[in-house]
């Protein structure tokens, strides 16, 4: 794995080992994929303004996220069906996260169960990503199992009343390979995703089983059944962030779902400042994910107020290339790049980061 020294290299190499349907499913964005590109390009419009001779001692990437200590402010976002990338799937991913001391988030639609993951990576800080099923018993069950298994938070995905339109999946009639299961479920909930018939099998599954009529009151219901902190994942507006907080969320994950839900929405990093501003007088944390692919991306997000950032696809590329070792490599690349960034920007710890460390490129058009 050592030959890979950038996320871009991981991505390219993974593309050549993954079967077409899985590769397409993992990399696609919604419809024309403009936002998919903007998720990355928007970072390039930000400039880091390094400080010199600040008296650096060892630079420290450690931070806390919802009270849990992590070795760096980079965590793993939930992505569905990871066993398509590697036989060890979520297990490998979680073990890498444990090894590297970062947060691992397990998808509701995982091909490894809550309990399997908990057992494989007992010391990892684990979050459970929740989709709310029409059947609230099913939903409650997931939450209670996650709580029981030692997961530290529920990341409720709020941007998915339906799944986005990803054209490659429709053309591929995407479905979960026959030998895999949605392991958090029993019976048809675990296999229904196979029989796609037409279009994307995933979208059919979601349309039939998820509750798209959710309101912010759902958070209150969740609050009533669990003591775990709740993170609203998928917010792109300040007013929505405030609603989430008022409904009882402890944190906001600014995200456009890897540009997979709706093309034409802002890049996540574009939306971040508005959310940070909106909730600044509340006692909540703000994170972001979407398009993060270098240490400087992470740093830019931190300067704009993110407490941590998360990555989805990079973990899949690592997984595809080398299972646990591949994910570890991915995390090491981020760690290395982030250390370089801290050092050269003159930042010795996460707490040290201030807003004046970044400006938008347009600031330099004023002479």
């Amino acid at each position: 794995m050592e030959k890979y020294i950038s996320i871009k290299e991981l991505e390219e190499a993974a593309a050549s080992v993954l079967p077409k349907a899985a590769r397409d499913y993992y990399k696609s964005g919604a419809t024309d994929e403009h936002t998919l590109q903007e998720n990355k390009r928007a970072f390039q419009r930000l400039r880091i303004r390094p400080k010199c001779l600040v008296g650096l001692t060892d630079c420290n990437l450690r931070t806390t996220v919802l009270g849990n200590e992590v070795s760096m402010p980079v965590g793993i976002s939930p992505t569905a069906m990871q066993r398509m990338a590697h036989p060890d799937g979520e297990i490998a991913n979680a073990k890498a996260a444990e090894k590297e001391g970062v947060i691992f988030t397990l998808s509701t639609l995982a091909t490894s169960s809550i309990e399997e993951v908990a057992k494989a990576a007992p010391r990892a800080v684990k979050w459970f990503q929740l989709y709310i099923y029409n059947d609230r018993e099913v939903t409650r069950n997931l939450v209670l199992r996650a709580e029981r298994a030692g997961f530290k938070a529920i990341a409720l995905t709020v941007d998915t009343p339906v799944f986005g339109l990803r054209r490659a999946d429709v053309h591929n009639k995407f479905s979960l390979p026959q030998h895999l299961r949605l392991s958090n479920f029993e019976g048809f909930l675990s296999t229904k995703i196979h029989s796609s018939g037409e279009g994307s099998g995933l979208n059919t599954y979601v349309n039939n089983l998820f509750d798209k009529s959710l309101t912010w009151d759902e958070i209150k219901w969740l609050r009533s059944i669990t003591n775990l902190p709740i993170i609203a994942k998928g917010i792109l507006r300040g007013d929505d962030a405030v609603k989430a907080v008022n409904a009882g969320c402890s944190a906001i994950l600014v995200s456009n779902h890897g540009a997979r839900q709706l093309d034409g929405v802002p890049a996540s990093i574009e939306a971040l400042p508005e959310v940070v501003e909106a909730v600044k007088h509340y006692n909540v944390e703000v994170y972001m994910d979407g398009g993060v692919s270098t240490g400087t991306d992470v740093y830019k997000a931190l300067t704009l107020g993110a407490k941590a950032v998360f990555v989805g696809r990079p973990a899949l590329w690592g997984l595809a290339l080398g299972g646990q070792a591949g994910v570890e490599r991915m995390l090491k690349i981020f760690r290395t790049e982030l250390e370089y960034t801290f050092n050269i920007a003159g930042t010795s710890s996460v707490a040290d980061i201030t807003k004046d460390m970044v400006v938008h490129e347009s600031a330099y058009s004023k002479l």
Copy 2:
């Protein structure tokens, strides 16, 4: 047709089935075609700001346009000589519109007559697009026939004192194929377009027969001969919109004629906000067409104040590929994409759409 799941795919496939002269005629824009590109690119500079957990029930695309109910806020703009794309031409197009419950607009320069279309698609909401001929009897006749045939509105095209300079047509010495007629006319008015001699036959036809000296008083004359509402099609400025309304128009269709008239004008979607603002205190509807090719484009136009949007070329691509079925497919693609957009943006009905759902990308350059 089901294999096509985007307008882009329809366009590419149609390009390979259409004869060169027709393809060129359909796709061309004026001179250097910068505006042709901008009509699409300008949409990409707008960002949708989705709202989460709004309590969606079934999302409803229905709306009314000039008092007529339609199944979605997407209609078909008039395009001339559709039998070059498919033997059934305007008939197929109108029947698809009827089937899908959207507005169909018949061009003055159609290869199917007002009466043929009315008979083929009796329940469709049909509009008649009017060019004013030097010979006012000819003109009045068209209007009265449209009214009599049950068309619901007259879309007076106001951007065409002469036809635009489309280079491919000049090179091709474009003319209507011998076996086709401008079916709304008899005698030489229906065939004159054949004998091109030099340059584009269409331009010669228009130069000889259309009245380019029109003023807004023409609207008053039109008002005096018909009870149908009049739509001013081809407006790009707020002041012109106000003149149109004062002259008696019931609606404004913001359009640069598919970038076919003058290169270098604003993209239609760029011009829309100015027009909406200018007529906001009048009781009129505003629509737009030009470059609309995805459901998110439609949605963006609605947030900026359009009551409906129209598409020209997409219908031609559908027509070329599959006649009525092809146009239906085209409309279904828009419907599907628009449903996704409504759902994920958190919009349950057209009435629900508010201005804050969209911003220009430049808004995100302020940190």
Copy 3:
């Protein structure tokens, strides 16, 4: 020639008939040629805002330039050594201008003499472009001959203390072909440009013979030796325009010399508004040249306050392809495109053009 219907087509075709050294000399811009590209691109950042139903009668392109009537507000800028493009060189160019009723400007460095041109195109409105030689007698002589030959104005080029660095000319060791002469001169002044030795022969010529220490007082001297109106050609700043006017110029030609002098200066069309603004209270005319290649470019310049625009290279491409007929074709293309623009923008005459007919694209970023 009729097969060419755009300046772009003329340019491409000419490139394939011209010998390399001439082609390179004609098309080059200074050093990296960024401004060469911007001269064209800057037009694309402007949007025409057409008016509808304005009651057009025949649209009239005629205008006056320094009191002389011309058939359209497009004239021919001076370019050196035109016999490299065609045996008839400046003669053919001037005759085409005469035939088309537009201004022809003869370069000091012409391969046809003042008198030859005057004789060949007696009814053309001719201007003489002046470079000031160290030897003031030589200079005075040129001016007096032009005046005597019926030229209507002196266009003093003020942007050329030295000639720009055009890399292709240096590599080609550019020099005038042996069989040609700088026909406005006798003896070594007419042939010195042959012996390049090293680098561009033109630059050596200019460095040795032109006076680079000119000040605005030179205009006063010119004023004292001729009654012809003086045009300052090559201005890019408002303050310089005011100086030119105060020194006695009757007009300003905003120009960056076809991007041949200094890379990194503004596109001519970018600089135009500043100059127009600066001299608006003086009784002078403002023109522009640089990158004009379509009728909409011309129109945009007029809306920003130019009384006329000029073209350099387009005449060379026409000349190379067909001598006089080629230049006529070039002018006809502009006339046709400009007529289209007037008609569709709703402008019936040059006097009709107002500033609100154009905006910068950035105006459309405010929603």
Copy 4:
């Protein structure tokens, strides 16, 4: 060498003669190399506004830098290990600088020693670039030797607590070729850079030996051991510039280290105005380096307040192609292009340059 007439040509030719490891080391920027591109592109966003007829006499590029006269405001930035480009390395470079009358800066990490360079180019204005070693004796020694050898200033590089992450170097396991030495050192300090083991040998060297915990107090220590003026090299922020000045620096070299330290920082030319503004009331000089590759780049930097500009890679390209003669050629290209720029912009001497000679391109979006 005369066949090369632009820095771009030098760069392309050098790329084909250099061995891969050296070429990669010389041309790389940090990680994704966006800033590497922006260092050049940012110049293109600036427009020079030339003045006409200013009464030029011979244009004079001479200026002083920290009290030393130089023949033009272009100097040579320190780059490490120049013998990889040519056997004569720093010696050739310094002799070229001497010949051309410009400043030469010797890197701490040179493959020729302070004394060798002083002896080879006694009349050159030489600066010594300093990295501060953990071992302060080593550091003091370097400074004292430079002072003794007649160097005129110490350029303390302040942007390098660690070396940037340049991917090609990591892949190449970059190390100094066996036959070369870091000549300013004895023993292992001079050869340790050979044994890279893993990743870039340079980064390992730096991490082990440089002191990354420096503060601005270090400047005071330096002030206490030498009378040479101190230049802070690598500043990108106004506040840091003020700190440098307050700590005793005589000049600021605005630099992002050739985009080699941290990707995503501003282009050097973007950062320049902020620094100039910040220290304008102090009696210090400001320079810049990074991406300077034409005479107009130099000119633009001067208009924004730089007293001189420096070039790193261009000297390496010249060196690779022709040793001393190659560097001389590189300097001659800059001189020629700068003379053209002065002449055509209407600037007769460095002192003549004013801020109004340049604007950002965005200034031209206001009509």
